[in-house]
């Protein structure tokens, strides 16, 4: 009884406070959140705007100040030779390393999900290595790869870039695919076996379609990591220069406006794919 007498007024006060605060929260939190989103989008908007900036000096570099609107850089998008070839190199590199990393990472994820520690000795060690690979500072991985290639006299170029990009993508693919595999119903495979399917048919008709969304998510991750990688690429690229390394080199002397044109194009493609995946996901 006494506890009730003591608590009820307090509870009433707190309920009232809750109502007032939640009204505040209903206004303050969304406003704040939208401000953060504006902050995140703002530099991207600046990038798009500057891709339309006129150049007044003889050197064809974007100036910090606004000189007027032009679509010239979109018409001449490929007129900076080093930039265009660097971009296509990055695309080729991302495609090759995504394919390799997705296959290797998916196989590893299957092994990790399917087999217990007693059937798969060394599973714990593999998991530790994956974790270390994701957590290690990228500059350390890049520098140590450079040391490896120099020690064994491996010429730096497209091959070393692929080796490096696959190396840092595998762990991300494995983690992504494993997360999707965790809810996988083994009973479906058992059912296929019971209905007379052999191992290959079971994989083709049951397992693969079920893990496909996870594999695609992993592949997308690998592609995004590869096409945007600067730190590791800077160490192992040698004479074949990928897009981010080229852009970084250019910033030291002056940025041609086409850099922002490419940036805008990559952004448009990426955000378009993201929106498409949301819309498709909603329909399902």
């Amino acid at each position: 009884m006494s506890t009730e007498l003591r608590d009820v007024p307090g509870a009433r006060a707190s309920a009232k406070a809750r109502r007032v605060r939640s009204r505040l929260g209903r206004f303050a939190l969304p406003t704040y959140s939208w401000l953060v989103i504006v902050y995140l989008v703002f530099p991207i908007a600046v990038m798009v705007v500057y891709s339309f900036n006129k150049v007044t000096t003889g050197l064809q570099n974007v100036s910090f100040s606004w000189n007027g609107f032009t679509t010239l850089w979109y018409q001449q998008w490929s007129s900076v030779p080093g930039l265009t070839s660097a971009f296509w190199l990055s695309v080729r590199l991302a495609i090759v390393s995504t394919l390799v990393a997705t296959v290797l990472g998916t196989l590893l994820a299957v092994a990790l999900v399917r087999y217990s520690r007693t059937k798969f000795r060394g599973k714990g060690a593999v998991e530790q290595v994956l974790f270390l690979n994701i957590a290690a500072p990228e500059i350390v991985m890049g520098a140590s790869l450079l040391a490896l290639f120099v020690t064994y006299n491996i010429a730096r170029g497209f091959l070393t870039l692929v080796l490096a990009h696959v190396m840092f993508s595998i762990a991300y693919v494995t983690v992504t695919v494993r997360a999707r595999l965790a809810g996988f119903e083994r009973a479906l495979e058992e059912a296929a076996y019971d209905l007379g399917a052999n191992a290959f048919t079971t994989f083709r008709l049951v397992t693969f379609p079920l893990i496909l969304p996870g594999v695609l998510a992993g592949a997308l991750m690998a592609f995004a990591l590869s096409i945007d990688d600067f730190v590791t690429s800077n160490f192992v690229s040698g004479s074949s220069v990928p897009f981010p390394v080229w852009v970084y080199g250019a910033t030291r002397v002056g940025t041609p406006p086409q850099v922002f044109v490419f940036g805008t194009a990559i952004f448009a493609v990426g955000i378009g794919m993201a929106i498409m995946s949301i819309v498709l996901g909603r329909k399902k």
């Binding site: 959140s33 974007v62 290595v129 957590a135 350390v140 520098a143 945007d228 940036g263 955000i271």
Partner: protein, 304 residues
């Protein structure tokens, strides 16, 4: 007949299939072999190679290096570049704390009030990742420059004193780091808050907890693992970052990443670069092991 027997075997235990038993035993190793080899040869071997590089002694006369298990090089190099280590530590720490403060409310809002638009808001959090890292940083150089639209306006309207600069200062570097790594903080926080069972909150309110008490006694303790994960996932890459400093910073506030990059790519001083990399890796690992000790080793992976 055989199949129906195996399907109805009591207790769900299947009799062993004798065909392909060896293949079955080897399967996990065969599946993990290609990825395992790739990671061993191109991730672990280079790391050990780098460690061995730091333990060598080189004779200044001939330039030849021999393995001498000379651990003394490590503290020596750290001492030499102590200023850059401290700068990196402070910059990364400031940026991470700023990111935690900025992203906690928005992560909370998306997790609790996002409703059907959760995916949309998550993509808005990830939106910087759709622009190349180097270009993002470059754009901040345009924004923060004295001749850029923002500061030329501020200077012309005398809203800031004439000697006021941001580009080339430590503030610009921390701002760049905070912007570039914000999604690394916001996503783990979102995952942690999203996971909170709303019934626990209802229970707290039923037990007369007001909003503040519910927040400090229920929400905050339940998100602690997420906060630590967010801290590590932001701090470690920010600590080794050098692009923000190179593009947005001046000449006096060099970070350790710049020193490492220069010792490998400019000065070809591999022993020094290796020592610094080993120390950088060690600092990151200490953070990770501390996390694993306190909160369990597997949990951080849930936030990746």
């Amino acid at each position: 007949m055989e199949r129906s027997v195996s399907a109805h075997y009591p207790g769900g235990v299947k009799p062993p299939r004798f065909r392909g038993l060896w293949a079955k035993r080897l399967a996990p190793y065969l599946l993990s072999l290609p990825a395992g080899l790739w990671l061993a040869l191109l991730f672990l071997v280079p790391l050990f190679l780098m460690l061995s590089e730091t333990l060598k002694s080189c004779s200044p006369a001939s330039g030849a290096c021999t393995m001498t298990w000379n651990w003394g090089e490590l503290p020596h190099t750290v001492n030499l570049y102590r200023a850059q280590f401290v700068t990196s530590l402070l910059f990364a720490l400031f940026a991470t704390v700023i990111d935690l403060v900025i992203s906690f409310p928005i992560a909370y809002w998306i997790a609790f009030y996002g409703g059907r638009r959760k995916n949309f808001f998550l993509i808005m959090l990830l939106v910087p990742f759709f622009v190349s890292f180097v270009i993002r940083t470059l754009v901040w150089e345009f924004i923060l420059s004295d001749n850029g639209f923002l500061f030329s306006f501020l200077h012309r309207s005398h809203l800031v004193p004439s000697g006021f600069h941001v580009l080339g200062t430590s503030v610009a570097v921390v701002a760049g780091l905070a912007y570039n790594y914000l999604p690394f903080t916001a996503l783990p926080l979102y995952v942690a808050i999203e996971r909170i069972d709303h019934r626990v909150l209802d229970a707290a309110h039923d037990l007369y907890a007001n909003r503040r008490v519910a927040f400090t006694k229920v929400i905050l303790p339940l998100t602690i693992p997420g906060i630590f994960a967010a801290f590590l996932l932001t701090f470690i890459p920010a600590f080794g970052d050098y692009i923000n400093q190179e593009i947005l910073g001046g000449t006096s506030n060099t970070m350790i990443g710049t020193v490492i990059q220069n010792s490998f790519l400019v000065n070809a001083d591999y022993p020094a670069g290796s020592s610094l990399s080993v120390v950088l890796l060690a600092i990151s690992l200490i953070g990770i092991f501390a996390y694993a000790r306190v909160l369990g080793s597997r949990t951080i992976e849930e936030y990746l």
